[in-house]
């Protein structure tokens, strides 16, 4: 599917410019996301030149890591025609219980082991989601609303509600470890943290799974039409378990990075941000009924949401408008993509 899309794309670029632009948008909806992103950046820079400072850009990069990891997980589930709202609960559950575990029982665990444990923990919870979605045969939205409350309720009632302010030292060190560092014009030290690298790596892995493996084929096939895919011999159970397990793994990783970056573990964090993440994926051009979308588009959608969230204040719009603006963006994007399909 992707190979033929690339061919079509190459064909379209060889034709006249005015035609190819419309065609490009139709085939690669994330072009619109990119244009929107550039337009917003240009407008904001015109109003407030402070936006283009390296410190602002690095802040945006830093803020998009956790959301980007979530979004990759949501995207891969969306591509298969499902939807997940429990990933924030998985992240909160993994990060908090792992932090408690390390703090109280294994204070000497190296950070690599902690990261792997977070991935494994997230995978486990994700697999529970996958099994439930497959066996209950109801829309995954309803199942994951249930598991969201299940995981979060379990965390808050049986594991703890205390805000942990002093992390194990190796986790704090990981959050501070710099990728590169420089001094900005006003003398403050700006740091791009090392954990930023995890997002591009995760994006590459996701891209590889979707475009270079049989599982990726299976995911898009199931998203296109689950019945036909299962008659073609794809095992729906394996696909569902893989999908939700993978999304859970990304969520667990995102959770532990969230802790390290903020240098505190708050069990009430993260849950409630899931709509922002789904909005980002949808703005990136993935259809909510499945079968389409690209990793690049998802990342652009994440950037768009992060930029909207952080620039509203810079251009003088009160932060109370943030939800309304994002909500309207979702509806506009949905309406736009639907009319685009109809023209086709």
């Amino acid at each position: 599917m992707s190979a033929s899309r690339i061919e079509e794309l190459q064909e379209s670029t060889s034709e006249t410019r005015s035609f190819s632009l419309g065609d490009l948008i139709r085939r690669r909806p994330e072009t619109i996301t990119l244009m929107l992103l550039v337009a917003i950046c240009v407008i904001v820079t015109a109003i407030n030149p402070g936006f283009l400072q390296p410190s602002t850009l690095i802040d945006i990069g830093r803020a998009s890591v956790v959301m980007g990891l979530f979004a990759l997980g949501v995207f891969i589930i969306l591509a298969a025609g499902g939807i997940d709202v429990s990933f924030t609960a998985i992240a909160a559950f993994t990060m908090y219980s792992l932090t408690v575990l390390v703090l109280n029982h294994f204070p000497a665990t190296p950070i690599v082991v902690i990261l792997v444990a977070a991935i494994l923990g997230g995978t486990l919870l994700g697999v529970i989601n996958g099994l439930l979605v497959y066996h209950l045969k109801v829309p995954s939205l309803i199942v994951t609303i249930g598991t969201q409350y299940l995981f979060r309720g379990f965390l808050l009632s049986f594991i703890g509600t205390v805000w942990i302010m002093s992390l194990p030292p190796q986790m704090g060190a990981f959050g501070r470890m710099p990728l590169f560092q420089f001094e900005s014009a006003n003398g403050a030290v700006v740091t791009l943290p090392f954990y930023f690298l995890i997002l591009p790596i995760a994006a590459l892995v996701t891209w590889w799974i979707l475009n270079r493996t049989l599982m990726g084929r299976a995911i898009f096939a199931v998203g296109g039409n689950a019945n036909i895919a299962s008659r073609l011999g794809y095992n729906l159970r394996t696909v569902q378990i893989f999908l939700f397990g993978y999304a859970g793994a990304l969520a667990g990783l995102a959770g532990i990075i969230h802790v390290c970056a903020n240098r505190q573990a708050n069990p009430f964090d993260l849950v409630g941000t899931e709509i922002n993440v789904i909005a980002a994926v949808v703005l990136g051009g993935a259809r909510i009924t499945g079968g389409t979308g690209t990793v690049l588009g998802t990342l652009l959608g994440v950037l768009l949401i992060v930029v909207i969230n952080s620039v509203l204040v810079m251009v003088g719009i009160p932060s109370t408008w943030q939800r309304l603006v994002v909500g309207i963006f979702i509806l506009l994007a949905a309406a736009f993509f639907v009319t685009r399909q109809r023209k086709k």
């Binding site: 199942v143 309720g153 709509i275 949808v282 909500g327 949905a334 309406a335």
Partner: protein, 343 residues
Amino acid sequence: MQKTGGQLVMLVAINCLLLVLGAAISGGSFLSLFNLQSMASQLPEIGLLAIGVMLAMCAGNGGIDLSGIALANLSGVLSAVIVSSFLSSTDSETAFSLAFIAGALAIGFLGGLTNGLLISKLNITPILCTLGTQMAFMGLAVVVSGGKAVMVGSPALLSSIGNDMFLEVPISFLIFVVVAGLIAAALKFTPYGLWLMLMGTNPKAALYAGFPKNGVLMATYAISGTLSGLAGAIIAARNVNVKFDYGSSYLLIAILIAVMAGVKPEGGYGRVICVVLSAVALQLMSSLLNFGGLSNFVRDFAWGLLLLTFLAVGRYDLTGFLFPGNRQPVSLAPRPHAPKRDN
């Protein structure tokens, strides 16, 4: 549709069991008039939202209304802001109350109609559409109120809806029962009800049969929105203040009630009486957990577990297993067989 009667019997049995259990645990005070009244007055807000979710689910094609509680809060907040700009809640109490309720209902209706228009005319998937409007409604409520609670006050009429009794029954509960009855009647005796259920069962066949698809969808979401508006008015009547983030767990609970009532998430089947009974059961359980002195978090955990359990009940037809005598269709309404699902 073999479980039509079974679900009803099971819900009645669950309710009786909970009442007995409550009485046994609390030594009778669970069944005191005061406790029953306070439970009945907590029920309407969530019950109305659950009926809205049920209608949207019945429409099929992935129908669901996630914007319910956000729209309810928006109705309360916006109506309070608009009405108190030209009326004072202390000087002209009746006029303020009436204007406030009318405003909340109108805003709920408009919000629901927006959902319906987006879904039917623009063909946006209901999940995505109501996700977007949920955020937009909540955002609008934040913008209008500046993120703070808006004072409604307690003008006589409004506060009597929220707090007073009629023949020892809370007035808000009576309103809920009447509205639920109206919707049940509309589903059973009007063409709209038949269209809605048949459309949910098989959208393609409904299209070829010439059903007014857009009209049915718009009516469904507009009714759901109006119910949210009514819920918003009742919330305001009970709480004196309205705020944009009231009842953040209501979204899950409304879906839980609908699923517990045997409403099919894939569309085509749902009964109002079951939704009412399952809302009652949930309220009983919630009060029971309160009596047991458990925290809100345990309750969240229990709700999640309960939702998944009832999904499993619906999937494996455990009701038929538990009540084998009730597998015959009892309902008089014409009900087509759902298309067979391959497993």
